[in-house]
């Protein structure tokens, strides 16, 4: 089956000719690449009829750094470093995806300590990512205060990361065969304290934003994405679950120690912005309970099973592993020739790339304000789209 690829000009012409003759004047406007609501350098071409958005065409590539191509020239261990820079809010989960792929290819069995630490770290990172998202959603809808609340609480989690790892954003902690270093002696206590602290804070978030009548007006029945549409667009993560599809890799194809903890998969019913909001708030709560279940039971053991200095050569053929980041399914696909320690081809199936195309589906025939709410509720991280 041939895939027809159309250029931007062709697409604009296509939508332009669909213009109904001599009725109202529809016009194109660029949202971005420098625009406060696009969270970085995403460019959205909007076809507007007054205030009504008729079509959204995402234009990508403004922060493209060729990470996949660089991956072909670096070893797997080096490639892990690059993945931090894609979805920087799920940095460790990106690391984990590469590690998972390598470990699966080499059939390395990990001990429980590594799996526990990885899971806890991933969940902590999911919490901080959702907290940041919550703040940014508030800011996109015009309330500036939530942004600072979200950042304030997220800061405590990044402090924990800093203590153990030495970094706050691009952690590069999870490596093929284990984790970079053992956890800090304070780690367990601090995580417990932060969870204790953050639990009432989530209720505070709800008080500040969720119950607000304007937020309800802005989010309810806005940007409805049906389950069919969502699956056919390849949308994953909270956006998909909000549409009513309970696809969560942590439950469906468990990795780490997700099969040992109890948690609910938050699933929405309508697929509007409010469901996406609610799913994420619920996920923060679930992640907290997961961490509470795990944090006291971290078993003893080594934290690195593969010698970092040793050359890692994957068997010939293609290898794939995927996991659930804060934004959806991240898959790492690598082809090895069986000789070199560098992949022949590496590809990332990043959640944001698929999610961003749902903006058009959600926003058609609604207002600019809704577009902002929709883009915000998809929770895109632009470097992950362009890679």
């Amino acid at each position: 089956m041939a895939v027809k690829v159309s250029t931007l000009d062709e697409r604009i012409k296509l939508t332009d000719s669909a213009d109904s003759p001599l009725d109202t004047q529809e016009y194109f406007i660029n949202m971005g690449p420098q625009h406060p609501a696009t969270h970085g350098v995403l460019r959205l071409m909007l076809k507007l009829d007054g205030e009504t958005v008729r079509e959204v065409i995402p234009v990508l590539g403004y922060i493209h750094r060729g990470i996949e191509k660089i991956g072909e020239h670096s070893t797997y261990r080096q490639f892990v470093h690059l993945t931090d820079r894609c979805d920087y809010l799920s940095a460790m989960m990106n690391n984990w995806a590469v590690s998972l792929m390598v470990e699966k290819a080499l059939k390395v069995e990990l001990n429980d300590r590594i799996e526990y630490i990885r899971t806890i770290m991933a969940e902590l990172e999911r919490i901080q990512s959702h907290m940041l998202w919550w703040g940014v959603l508030g800011m996109d809808l015009g309330a500036f205060t939530p942004f600072l609340y979200g950042f304030r609480d997220r800061e405590l989690i990044t402090d924990i990361f800093e203590e153990t790892i030495g970094c706050r954003l691009t952690m590069n902690y999870i490596q093929p065969g284990g984790v970079m270093d053992d956890i800090h002696p304070n780690f367990v206590d601090r995580v417990k304290k932060v969870i204790e602290y953050a639990k009432p804070k989530i209720d505070e978030y709800e008080e500040l934003l969720s119950g607000n009548v304007i937020i309800q007006e802005r989010l309810r029945n806005v940007g409805v994405l049906s389950a069919d549409k969502a699956t056919s667009l390849g949308v994953t993560g909270p956006v998909l679950r909000a549409s009513g599809v309970p696809l969560d890799l942590r439950r469906v194809a468990p990795y780490g120690v997700y099969d040992k903890v109890n948690f609910e998969v938050a699933v929405g019913s309508v697929g509007d912005c409010w469901d996406r909001y609610w799913v994420r708030i619920e996920e923060i709560r679930q992640s907290m309970s997961m961490i509470e279940q795990l944090i006291d039971n971290i078993p003893a053991g080594k934290t690195m099973l593969m010698k970092p200095a040793k050359k890692t050569v994957l068997p010939e053929g293609s290898h794939y592993a995927q996991l659930e980041t804060a934004r959806g399914i991240l898959g790492i696909y690598a082809v090895s020739d069986g000789v070199s320690d560098k992949p022949v081809r590496i590809h990332m199936r990043s959640p944001n790339y698929n999610n961003v195309w749902s903006a058009d589906e959600m926003t058609r025939d609604s207002r600019i304000g809704d577009l902002v709410a929709n883009v915000s509720s998809i929770d895109i991280v632009v470097p992950d789209i362009d890679r």
Binding site: Y27, I29, H35, P36, A37, E51, G138, M139, D140, L141, G142, A143, F144, T145, L148, Y149, R152, L208, L209, N212, I214, I215, E217, R218, R367, I368, G369, D370, V372
Partner: protein, 372 residues
């Protein structure tokens, strides 16, 4: 005993003679033209200085209030507790490059901020801040203020149009639609007080609250009118939750997207002064302006209240309302365009009309509190 003590005070303070600057000028004009010119100059300089000082003070207060709502300190570096931060910002804005977009309509682009600052200044001169601190006291004060504020929006429309930027144009269109709609509600609630006071003159409206402020003398009706006024004037000020014309996350700044430096600061200043005007107007109409807290008939109590000078009363009330508006700004998210219109046309407008009828009934039947 107390009556004996304060009886004297009641006699001296119960009536306030309003002498405005323009009255002084007209009086002096016949005898000493130079004195009149002096008064006029004083008025000009006073308004100009007040405008810029007040603007800077409000910006500082806004930042501090915002900061404390958000669990942080706000400006702390320049001066004691960042008191001089606004001065530093003003200097920075003055020194910035003044950029005019290439394909913009230069003439209109340049005069747009002037339009809005002039409208603001004209509104400011009518505010009675104390019996002797008012520049002009027109006998159509209420109408004049709403008229003047409505050509402030012309500056916004000009800015949006002349920038030759689609975002600015969208912002300007939103501003125009929003302004025309909410103007109706503001006027309706102004009319309620006009009915109560039987005058359009601001100083007379203040004087009419001798026995109690309209917000509680006109009990429910006054309260409803006050809230309608507060909501609608927040919308006219383009402040959150009604800041759609400049919605940063939607329109990248709306009508002032293309403005920089001094011209941007004009818009900024006008916006803050407008906030002051709206608050001062709310205080004047509903909370008695500079009139102390009086309860009709209780002369002793009223005499005690008269000990606090009228200027302080005015400042206190206005500050309170400014704080309310800021509180709202830093708590609520923004409405959507159609929701904004729905709020006005389907909620505020009917409520305003019904309230106006209720006010008329109230005035005819004399059902206020303290009708004596």
């Amino acid at each position: 005993m107390l009556d004996f003590l304060f009886g004297q005070l009641v006699a001296t303070h119960a009536t306030f003679d309003v002498v405005t600057l323009s009255d002084r000028t007209t009086q002096a004009l016949a005898e000493d033209p130079w004195l009149a010119a002096g008064y006029a100059l004083l008025g000009l300089a006073g308004v100009g200085g007040f405008l810029s000082l007040l603007g800077m003070a409000l910006i500082y207060v806004e930042r501090k209030v915002a900061a404390h709502f958000q669990c942080r300190l706000g400006p702390m570096r320049v001066g004691w507790h960042g008191m001089l931060q606004s001065v530093a910002d003003a200097i920075k804005l003055l020194l910035k490059e003044d950029i005019i977009p290439d394909r913009a309509d230069r003439v209109l682009f340049l005069i747009a901020p002037v339009f809005s600052i002039i409208a603001t200044t004209l509104g400011l001169i009518l505010i009675p801040m104390s019996p002797s601190l008012q520049v002009v006291d027109l006998n159509i004060g209420v109408i004049f203020i709403s008229a003047v504020s409505s050509f402030g929006v012309l500056g916004i429309l000009l800015a949006g149009w002349s920038s030759n930027n689609k975002w600015s144009l969208l912002g300007a269109m939103r501003a125009g639609a929003q302004f025309i709609s909410y103007e109706i509600s503001v006027t309706l609630s102004l009319l309620v007080v006009t009915l109560f006071a039987g005058s359009l003159q601001l100083s007379e409206i203040v004087q009419s609250q001798q026995d109690g402020w309209w917000i509680w003398r006109g009990h429910i009706v006054g309260l409803v009118a006050f809230f309608v006024f507060l909501i609608a004037s927040t919308a006219e000020l383009n402040r959150p939750p009604f800041d759609l014309p400049e919605a940063e996350s939607e329109l990248t700044g709306g009508f002032h997207t293309e403005y920089s430096g001094l011209r941007f600061s004009f818009f900024f200043l006008a916006e803050f002064i407008n906030m002051f005007i709206a608050s001062a107007l709310a205080a004047t109409l509903f909370l008695g302006g500079w009139m102390p807290f009086h309860i009709g008939g209780l002369h002793t109590f009223n005499g005690l209240m008269d000990l606090i000078p009228p200027g302080l009363w005015f400042a206190g009330k206005t500050t309170f309302i400014i704080f309310l508006i800021m509180w709202v700004r830093w708590t609520f998210p923004r409405l959507r365009v159609d929701q904004l219109m729905r709020l006005e046309w389907k909620f505020l407008l009917p409520v305003g009309f019904i309230n106006l009828f209720a006010a008329a009934t109230l005035v005819i039947t004399k059902l206020y509190f303290f009708p004596w």
